[in-house]
C-alpha cells in the first residue's frame, strides 16, 4: 500500500515538569488506511513513550479517544490520518475544549462533562407495574425509534468540547446531557416523561444557538441539536414563558400577523421589563431615528405566509 510522511503537531503538557504547554512535531509514515489513533500508538511505541492519550476499543464505540484533530473534536480511531493530511497539510492534535484541567497531553478531566450528564436524572424512572414478573413491556420498534437513536451516544464528549454556547454559558448543560434527557422523555416507559421538561429551562435549554457543531462532530450521528429542538417544542407547548420561549413566540406572532419581522415588538416581547437595562441605548436610537417602528404593515399576500405554518406543522407531524 502507498505510504507517505505525515506531520503530527501535538499539544504537550505535563504539569509535573512544566507549567506551560508546548507543541511537538513528529513524522510518521502513514498509509491510506491508518487512523490518527494508529499513528499516535506508533509515536508512543516507536518515538516517545511519554505521549499520553486515552484509547481502548479502537473501533469507534467506547468513546475514549476523543480529542481535537485539526481544531475539531473527533475520535482518533475514526479519523483517517491521510484525509487530515490531505485537507490540512499537517495533523494538529490537541485536547478537547470546555473541560478542565488538562491532566496531561491529550487527556482532560471529564468531570465537568459527567456532572452535567448527572444533572438530568439520567436513568429510566419506572415504578414497575410489571416488577418481579417475567414480562416485558410491549413496545414497537417505531415507539423506540427516537430513544434508540439517542441511546447511540457513547459519551465521548466531542459535542461538549465543540459546543459554542457552553464557552459563554457555564449553566448550559450541553448537547449530550439534553440528548440523554430526551432519550427518556421520548421513552414510553419513563414515568416522568414530559414532566422532565419544565426543569430544563434552568439547565439552559434556550442557551443553544443552533450552531450544529454537536451534529457535525458526533461520531455516532446522535444529532443532539435535534433533541434540543424537540425539547424546546415540548417546553414551548407546555406554556414556557422563559425569554427563549418568548422570543420564539414573538417571532411567530410577527410573521403570522404581518408576514414581516417586527423587530421592535420582537425585542419588547422577548425582553419585557429587562429592556430597562438597555434604556440609554433605546433613547439614543430613538432620538437619532434608528429605532425600528412598532408598527409594520402586513404584506399583500399575508395568507401565503400564514400557510407556511400549516406546512411546517404538517411536515413535523409526518
Amino acid at each position: 500500500m502507498k505510504t507517505q510522511e505525515a506531520v503530527f503537531r501535538i499539544f504537550r503538557f505535563n504539569p509535573e515538569l512544566s507549567e506551560k504547554p508546548h507543541y511537538q512535531t513528529f513524522q510518521v509514515k502513514i498509509d491510506n488506511r491508518m487512523t490518527v489513533l494508529d499513528a499516535l500508538e506508533d509515536i508512543k511505541h516507536e518515538q516517545d513513550a511519554t505521549l499520553t492519550f486515552r484509547r481502548s476499543c479502537r473501533s469507534g464505540i467506547c468513546g475514549s479517544c476523543a480529542m481535537k484533530i485539526n481544531r475539531l473534536a473527533k475520535l482518533a480511531c475514526k479519523t483517517r490520518a491521510k484525509t487530515e493530511m490531505d485537507n490540512h497539510g499537517e495533523i494538529l492534535v490537541e485536547p478537547m475544549e470546555n473541560m478542565s484541567p488538562i491532566l496531561r497531553d491529550l487527556t482532560v478531566d471529564m468531570g465537568e462533562f459527567w456532572r452535567e450528564i448527572d444533572r438530568g436524572t439520567p436513568w429510566l424512572v419506572w415504578e414497575e407495574t410489571l416488577a418481579g414478573t417475567i414480562k416485558e413491556n410491549l413496545l414497537t420498534n417505531q415507539q423506540q425509534r427516537v430513544p434508540d437513536t439517542l441511546a447511540n451516544c457513547i459519551m465521548c464528549g466531542c459535542c461538549f468540547s465543540d459546543c459554542v454556547s457552553r464557552v459563554f454559558d457555564k449553566n448550559f448543560t450541553g448537547p449530550a446531557s439534553l440528548a440523554k434527557i430526551h432519550r427518556f422523555v421520548a421513552d414510553p416507559r419513563d414515568e416522568v416523561g414530559e414532566k422532565r421538561v419544565p426543569t430544563l429551562v434552568e439547565m439552559g435549554l434556550w442557551s443553544c444557538t443552533h450552531c450544529y457543531f454537536c451534529w457535525s462532530q458526533c461520531p455516532r450521528d446522535v444529532r443532539p441539536v435535534a433533541a434540543i429542538s424537540a425539547l424546546r417544542i415540548l417546553s414551548f407547548n407546555a406554556g414556557d414563558t422563559n425569554q427563549g420561549a418568548r422570543h420564539v413566540r414573538a417571532f411567530m406572532n410577527s410573521v403570522k400577523g404581518t408576514g414581516m419581522l417586527n423587530e421592535a415588538r420582537l425585542y419588547l416581547e422577548t425582553m419585557r421589563w429587562t429592556m430597562l437595562r438597555d434604556l440609554d441605548l433605546i433613547v439614543k436610537m430613538a432620538t437619532r431615528g434608528k429605532a425600528p417602528s412598532l408598527f409594520v404593515r402586513p404584506i399583500p399576500k399575508i395568507e401565503e405566509a400564514r400557510s407556511l405554518f400549516q406546512l411546517t406543522r404538517g411536515a413535523r407531524q409526518k
Partner: protein, 557 residues
C-alpha cells in the same frame, strides 16, 4: 487507607451488575476500574444475549445447546442455573430501560445464533453490549455506587488464604494506594490482548485473572481460547455472528459456501470453533484470499435489512474494511475473541480464597467449557455478576474486619518505583508485539506439541527480557506507559499458563485443537485443568466436570 466492605475490580457488565446487587443488599461497595465504566469492553459486544423466551423453546434446550457447544466440558449445574435464570435476567434489563429490538407485536425479538437449535438471541440491532452497558451504568448512577474511575489494580492482597483487599494506582496522580476490603470481586474481563490478532479492545489484558494467579489462586481451563470466525481482515475488528444469524454466507476463493463440507446441517451457524477451523483450513489449503481471509457475503440480505439489523456492521465494514456489505463481500479472518478459562468459581462466584469472588469473562464457573456459544457471554455476566454481588454482600455482613498488611503496600510501591526509575532496558511494547505473534502463530486455532514447545521457550525468553523492562517515562502523573508495562507483565504470566495447559491436554476439544491429538478423549480428558503458580512455572492438576443430565456424545452440526 481506603476501606470498603466490597471492592469490585472492573466496571463492565459483570462488575456493575455485582455492584448493584451488593448495594441493594446493603453493603458498602465500590467499583474500581482502569477506564471510565462506559468505556469497558462489554460495550463492544454486538450480536445479542440468549434466553428461552418463546413457548416453543425451553431452558432445557438452551442448556443442552450450551453443553454441546462447550464440547461437554461445561459444568452442567452451572449451565442449568444460567439458562433457567436467563429470561428473568433479560426482562430485568428491559425493565431498567434497555432498548431491545422488537417484533411486530412489541415483544422482544430473537434471532438465530451459532450452535443454537432455536432463535433465542435477544438483541439491540448489533450494538447489544453498548445498550446493556449504558443501561446498567444508569442503574449504578441511580443506586449511587461509588466508582474509582481510572484506577489500575496491580495486586490482590491475600494472607492466610483470606483476601484482605488490593493495591491500585490512581492513574491521574500516579499514587499507589492500599484498598482494604472484606471481599473483592474480580470482574476485569478476559485476556484477549495476549494475542496480537484479537477482536478485544486494547485494554482487555487479563489483569484480573493474572492478579488472582499471582496471589496463588489456580486458574481453570486457560487453554480454551475462542477464535471468532468473522473479524475484519487486518484490524480484526469484530463482525458479529449476527451477520450469519441474519443469513450471511461464508465463501472461499472458488465461490463455494465451504461450510457445507464441515457442518452440512447448520452451515455458517455451527459453533464458533468449528467455523473458525473451517476457515483456517480453507485458507491453509489455498482457497482463501491473499492467503489470509475468506469472504462474508451479506449482499442477498438487501440494504433495508442490513440497515435495520446490522447497522454497526455496515459502518465498521465501510470505515475499517473499506467495503460496503450492501454491494461487496467482506474479507474476514478468525481472531482471538474470548477467554473461556479464568478464576475458578462456584455457582455464587466464590473463588478458592476466602473473601475472593469473580464473575464474567475473568471467571470460569464453568458455563462455556471448551467453547462458548455466541450470546452466552452477556448472559453469563449478568447472571453470575448478580450472584457474586449477593454472595459477597452476605459474606461481608458476617465477616469481621480483616487486617491489611502494610508490607503489601510498601512492596508494591517499591516494585513500581523500581520500574519507573529504570533508565534503560527493553520496551514493553516490543515484548508485547513478540508475545502476541508467538501466541497467535503457535498457540492459535491449530496447535501441535512442536509449536507449543517453541512458544513455551519464546515466552520464557520474553519473561527474562521483562525483568529488565523499561517504562521510558518516569512521570507519576497519568503514566499510560507504566500501565501498559504492568499489563504486559500480566499477559506474560497468562501466556505461560495457556501454553502449559495446552501442552498437557493431549486431545482436541472445543476451541483447543491439537493436530497431534485430533480426537476428543473423554476417558482421559473429560476434566478441568487447574494451573497454580510456583517458582518453576505453572503446576497443573485436574478436577472433574459436573455432569447432571447430558452424557457426553459426539458433537456434529
Amino acid at each position: 487507607m481506603i476501606k470498603h466492605d466490597i471492592v469490585i475490580v472492573g466496571a463492565g457488565l459483570a462488575g456493575l451488575r455485582a455492584a448493584i446487587e451488593a448495594k441493594e443488599k446493603g453493603a458498602d461497595v465500590a467499583v474500581l476500574s482502569k477506564l471510565h465504566p462506559v468505556r469497558s469492553h462489554s460495550d463492544q459486544a454486538q450480536g445479542g444475549i440468549n434466553a428461552s423466551l418463546s413457548e416453543d423453546d425451553s431452558w432445557e434446550k438452551h442448556a443442552f445447546d450450551t453443553v454441546k457447544g462447550s464440547d461437554y466440558l461445561a459444568d452442567q449445574d452451572a449451565v442449568e442455573l444460567m439458562c433457567k435464570d436467563a429470561p428473568r435476567a433479560i426482562i430485568e434489563l428491559e425493565h431498567w430501560g434497555a432498548l431491545f429490538s422488537r417484533t411486530e407485536t412489541g415483544r422482544l425479538a430473537q434471532r438465530p445464533f451459532g450452535g443454537a437449535g432455536f432463535p433465542r438471541t435477544c438483541f439491540a440491532a448489533d450494538k447489544t453490549g453498548h445498550v446493556l452497558q449504558t443501561t446498567i451504568f444508569e442503574q449504578v448512577k441511580k443506586n449511587g455506587v461509588h466508582v474509582y474511575e481510572e484506577w489500575f489494580a496491580t495486586s490482590l492482597v491475600v494472607e492466610d488464604n483470606v483476601c484482605r483487599g488490593l493495591t491500585a494506582i490512581e492513574i491521574v496522580t500516579g499514587e499507589v494506594h492500599g484498598v482494604q476490603a472484606k471481599a473483592v470481586i474480580l470482574a476485569a474481563g478476559g485476556a484477549g490482548r495476549v494475542y496480537n490478532r484479537t477482536t478485544n479492545s486494547l485494554t482487555t489484558t487479563g489483569d484480573g485473572i493474572a492478579m488472582a494467579y499471582n496471589a496463588g489462586v489456580p486458574l481453570e481451563d486457560m487453554e480454551f481460547v475462542q477464535f471468532h470466525p468473522t473479524t475484519l481482515c487486518g484490524s480484526n475488528i469484530l463482525i458479529s455472528e449476527a451477520a450469519r444469524g441474519e443469513g450471511g454466507y461464508l465463501v472461499n476463493s472458488l465461490g463455494e459456501r465451504f461450510m457445507k463440507k464441515y457442518a452440512p446441517d447448520r452451515m455458517e451457524l455451527a459453533a464458533r470453533d468449528i467455523v473458525a477451523r473451517a476457515e483456517e483450513t480453507e485458507i491453509r489449503e489455498g482457497r482463501g484470499f491473499e492467503d489470509e481471509c475468506v469472504h462474508l457475503d451479506l449482499r442477498h440480505l438487501g440494504e433495508a435489512k442490513i440497515n435495520e439489523r446490522l447497522p454497526t456492521i455496515r459502518e465498521l465494514a465501510v470505515y475499517f474494511g473499506g467495503v460496503d456489505p450492501v454491494e461487496e463481500l467482506i474479507p474476514v479472518q478468525p481472531a482471538q475473541h474470548y477467554t473461556m478459562g479464568g478464576v475458578p468459581t462456584g455457582l455464587d462466584g466464590a473463588a478458592p480464597v476466602e473473601g475472593l469472588y469473580a464473575a464474567g469473562e475473568c471467571a470460569c464457573v464453568s458455563v462455556h467449557g471448551a467453547n462458548r456459544l455466541g450470546g452466552n457471554s452477556l448472559l453469563d455476566t449478568i447472571v453470575f455478576g448478580k450472584r457474586a454481588g449477593a454472595k459477597a454482600a452476605e459474606y461481608a455482613k458476617e465477616a469481621s474486619v480483616v487486617s491489611f498488611p502494610d508490607i503489601a503496600l510498601k512492596e508494591e510501591t517499591q516494585r513500581i518505583e523500581t520500574l519507573l526509575n529504570r533508565k534503560e532496558g527493553v520496551k514493553a511494547s516490543e515484548i508485547k508485539k513478540a508475545l502476541g505473534s508467538t501466541m497467535f502463530d503457535k498457540v492459535g486455532i491449530f496447535r501441535h506439541k512442536r509449536e507449543l514447545e517453541i512458544a513455551k521457550r519464546n515466552v520464557a525468553a520474553l519473561k527474562r527480557q521483562f525483568t529488565n523492562v523499561c517504562v521510558m517515562d518516569s512521570s507519576r502523573r497519568f503514566n499510560t506507559s507504566l500501565i501498559e508495562t504492568l499489563e504486559v507483565g500480566f499477559a506474560l504470566d497468562l501466556a505461560e499458563v495457556i501454553i502449559a495447559s495446552a501442552l498437557a491436554r493431549r486431545e482436541s476439544r472445543g476451541a483447543h485443537y491439537r493436530l497431534d491429538y485430533p480426537k476428543r478423549d473423554d476417558t482421559k480428558w473429560l476434566k478441568h485443568t487447574l494451573a497454580v503458580r510456583t517458582a518453576e512455572g505453572p503446576k497443573l492438576s485436574y478436577k472433574p466436570v459436573t455432569i447432571t443430565r447430558w452424557q457426553p456424545e459426539e458433537r456434529g452440526y
